[in-house]
Symmetry: C2
Subunit: 165 residues, 2 copies
């Protein structure tokens, strides 16, 4: 597939009617990250989270010629040292047949501009270590790897056990 080479990438906020599209994109991303088995989200759950009356999670869609080519899903984090919010990018995904047209960069630029506009201290995300093509893009855009930090996660039975200690 050639995608829509040459078309201009447009970024728009997701709307309630996009829940099915967003779920499909999330599932494609899970496949790409080799984590499809972890992806149990449903369309109604996505709609409930993103389009609540006071949502805590937000989504932008990248389009070329009116066709969805990717998305960015994000929320606000917080830096205590700066006492300012930041933007945390939970997911960034561009469909394989539409890569190389700047959609990923356009989504990142859009969120960077929002961060600046809102006085955010930072714009952050995680990346899987083997995803070298993404890492190259991030570094080219000036992002730096916070190598000295490790993410810890508690979920499933371990989370339930600590809650009951």
């Amino acid at each position: 597939m050639s995608g829509a080479k040459g078309g201009k990438v447009e970024i728009r906020a997701a709307r309630p009617g996009d829940a099915g599209l967003i779920l499909a994109l999330i599932q494609e991303l899970a496949e790409y990250e080799r984590l499809r088995h972890e992806c149990v989200a449903t369309e109604s759950e996505i709609a409930a989270s993103l389009f609540a009356s006071a949502p805590r999670t937000f989504c932008e869609i990248a389009e070329v010629d009116g066709q969805a080519v990717g998305f960015a899903l994000w929320f606000y984090n917080f830096s205590t040292f700066k006492a300012r919010h930041g933007i945390y990018l939970e997911d960034l995904y561009v469909r394989p047949q539409f890569r190389g047209q700047g959609a990923g960069k356009a989504l990142l630029k859009h969120l960077a501009a929002r961060a600046m506009h809102e006085g955010c201290a930072r714009f952050e995300w995680w990346v899987l270590d083997w995803n070298t093509s993404s890492i190259r893009l991030y570094e080219a855009l000036g992002a730096r790897a916070m190598e000295e930090w490790t993410v810890f996660r508690l979920d499933g039975e371990a989370l339930a056990r600590l809650a009951e200690l």
Copy 2:
């Protein structure tokens, strides 16, 4: 200092009058993390973020015999694969003279219980790689290091540059 050995650790939500205390605890944490130079937060900024009408950031105080011994500052993150919110712990700190009395564990248990109660998918945080005493506690509580992920950060001039691309 002996602290208040033997006293029971109580966890309570931070109140507007706590902003000065919370700033002092954040500054102590920055000192401990060897990042004091990055800590530019002010009391009024802390108050504005934590005690807004619809805050996005939350704080719990740990007390022993009515004396503040530590704090946890957190916000909601989101898992697209689960389509559920999680709790992200931005800062956890116990004053050195009060360590070893279970205040850190009590703060973690409190947030784990909240995560379970609210149907959150996960409870996550980052830790500095050299902070082995904390890492030992986290692992003992069942948390696992997500070694395959690296945190990327864009801030300062690099953030402004991407916003203007």
